[in-house]
């Protein structure tokens, strides 16, 4: 990614509004995952949810993304409940979960093209560039079923480079990436928050020193 591109992004992200969870509580199978949790996510934040397996990180992430409505409390975006202004909110955040939404019979390029179809301003050349950036140059036209686990993950992550959204919500994005890939992704996260973007992430991987990094610890309330 060239500096000019991130500068441009930085301007674009000036309109980012706060994402605030007010006293959210969630229980599953009579076990309380978190209770009266409040969380404010602002421009330039990089927030990592940490906690042991089964602590409720994925659950909290999906709830903040507006994908899960099975909880108490409210999540506000720009002062409004995200379910109310869902369409606007959705255009401002990118959610990448465990499942990659990649069609195995299609090529990386075709998959990426589908991902960005809501953003008409994204150009075809950007897609090629993004695939090259995730070191998939030469694989643009290979059906995804023939890619290795890490390569498929990279296709999903190429979206980070092309969708112009200020808020990224990522669930264990480091899965299956090799060292170089991990370094690349950390770099992307750092650049994104530096450019005024915001990242909400779960990972068991310890992120290297990015100044904006904050932890939210979820414990096991047995």
């Amino acid at each position: 990614m060239t500096p000019s591109a991130s500068l441009e992004q930085s301007n674009r992200f000036t309109h980012f509004c706060d994402l605030i969870a007010h006293n959210v509580s969630c229980e599953r199978d009579d076990r309380i995952l978190f209770e009266n949790l409040s969380l404010t996510v602002q421009k330039g934040d990089l927030i990592q949810l940490v906690g042991p397996n089964g602590a409720g990180k994925t659950t909290l992430l999906r709830l903040m993304a507006g994908l899960n409505q099975d909880f108490q409390g409210e999540v506000h975006w720009h002062g409004e409940n995200i379910q109310r202004c869902y369409q606007d909110y959705a255009r401002q955040r990118l959610y990448i979960g465990h499942l990659s939404a990649i069609k195995k019979v299609l090529t990386p390029l075709e998959n990426l093209r589908w991902f960005v179809s809501s953003w008409p301003e994204v150009k075809e050349a950007d897609l090629w560039q993004a695939l090259a950036d995730v070191t998939l140059a030469g694989y643009e036209d290979v059906p995804c079923q023939q890619l290795s686990a890490g390569q498929q993950r990279r296709v999903a992550l190429a979206r980070l480079l092309v969708t112009p959204t200020p808020l990224w919500i990522l669930d264990e994005p480091f899965t299956a990436l090799d060292k170089e890939g991990v370094a690349w992704l950390e770099d992307q996260l750092a650049r994104h928050v530096a450019a005024g973007g915001t990242v909400l992430i779960t990972s068991h991987h310890a992120l290297s020193d990015i100044p904006a990094l904050r932890y939210i610890e979820l414990g096991m309330h047995k």
Binding site: N68, S100, I102, F115
Partner: protein, 222 residues
């Protein structure tokens, strides 16, 4: 290009890339037709009597079978999650998906049905009724089927559950469709039945997408 058009295009590309997706329903249709004479009685006069019903039952079953994969793949690989995350209208997606399904299953079936009806010794004057009843009826099957497919998409061995949900909804269409063909065969008026099918189709087009959108959301909240 909006996400809906992109999805329709993508699904058609996938279907073109594994031709099984649209050829198999056709083959199944053909084979169910072949089972009947084998199991019942190959006498041509006898077959002529049951032809209308058997062709319609076969069309219905073959649509039913191709429904299973309509949303399942999308749920499993996370495409649906991305749809919901995108904030675009699920109503439009439901319509788009039903349309793709019809292109892949109902349309080819309508085109070859008259040919196969030959093998069942269908009376000559029933051919146009067969064609038009299928042309009006199969989109309804796809639309109603989408409701069932959405309801059962997250369920293991959903294929059969799907048939349970759907078959009762299909019976009126079966009755009107088969009786149009039967009446045409014995040289009676059949426009009434086609009229009913047409009005069902309008209703299905406006109403079922709501149900599909609702059902799809159920698959996601975890």
């Amino acid at each position: 290009m909006s996400l809906v058009t992109a999805t329709i295009k993508r699904d058609l590309v996938i279907a073109a890339r594994n031709p099984g997706e649209w050829l198999n329903p056709l083959m199944f249709f053909l084979m169910v037709l072949a089972l009947f004479p084998l199991a019942v009685d190959p006498d041509p006069n006898f077959l002529a009597k049951i032809a209308a019903g058997v062709v319609w039952v076969a069309a219905l079953l073959s649509t039913l079978l191709s429904l299973d994969s309509l949303f399942k793949a999308d749920v499993e690989d996370g495409t649906l999650e991305q749809w919901l995350a995108s904030g675009e209208s699920l109503y439009a997606m439901a319509l788009g998906k039903a349309f793709t399904h019809w292109c892949i299953s109902g349309l080819p079936l309508t085109i070859v049905a008259p040919l196969l009806a030959l093998m069942m010794n269908l009376p000559e004057n029933a051919y146009s009724a067969l064609f038009f009843s299928l042309l009006l009826g199969t989109p309804i099957l796809s639309l109603l089927g989408a409701v069932g497919a959405a309801l059962t998409a997250g369920v293991r061995s959903g294929g059969l559950l799907l048939s349970l949900v759907i078959l009762p909804l299909y019976t009126p269409i079966l009755i009107f469709g088969a009786s149009a063909v039967y009446h045409a065969g014995i040289e009676m008026e059949y426009l009434g039945q086609l009229g009913f099918l047409a009005s069902f189709l309008c209703m299905a087009m406006t109403l079922t997408p709501f149900a599909v959108a609702g059902a799809l959301k159920l698959n996601l909240s975890r």
